[in-house]
Amino acid sequence: MTSLRHQPLAHLALAARREPPVADAGVTLRALPYRPSIILRGESGDAGFVAAFRAGMGFELPLDPNRISSHDGVTALWLGPSEWLILGAMGPAGQGRLATALTGHHHAIINNGDGQQIIALSGPRARDVLGKLCPLDLESPDLAPGHCARSILARCSILLHPQPDGAYHIHVGRSFADYAWRLLADAGLTYGVAVASGD
């Protein structure tokens, strides 16, 4: 069934472009493929809920604002005091395991993977290019790897997930993917843009 899954940026035919890599491109853009993910709702202050998550998933849910935690290919990103994005291994089996663990605690699990596109922005000028569109202080320690932040990219809502290698994973709603991609590609022109495909 995965093959039926249509990628939000398929119309740009990014893989087929095979443009010669821009030798000294300031930034590289990449549309990451589908990853199963969910939004998890529950109360940070509900010790039972937090413990149940730990028991079911084998790691701690990040309770501090804008922090992330990871374990065994699964990453939990803090979105709000009662909201997390759980990224990876959240297909039916993973979801079932989590739902079972959380039984009896007030929570909600909302499928999210189809509704999102992650655009990876990397390269030596990634921060400058992102800084054209996003009002966050990207040099702040609050945005070091290990953190995440919801904000805006020009006029659409994003979740920003800085990577250890200086790249940014920018999560946008599926319907905004084309807009966000074009914004970034245009902003990157100043420093040269390369397009990469795949992971």
């Binding site: 604002p65 009002p135 904000s151 809502s157």
Partner: protein, 93 residues
Amino acid sequence: MLLLSCPWCGDRSEQEFACGGEAHIVRPLAPEDLDDRAWGDYVFMRRNEKGLHFERWRHVHGCGRWFNVARNTVTHEILAIYQVGDDRPELPE
């Protein structure tokens, strides 16, 4: 462009927030017991202060939480930021 300190996310630019108008307006528990004027006051009448103003903001492009702000509407000085449900802080007019 204001700089608001979200109680959860810290300093963020005004663009990430939506203002929800005057704070501390409590919905009457028994609306049907109110006459038209009293109900109209609750629905329509706002203080529109020049100076100290208590208002609600939501971090819409962030954690999604509503919170309260005490702001001077003349100078835009932010005098206090506090959680929904907390009492209005004591501030000089």
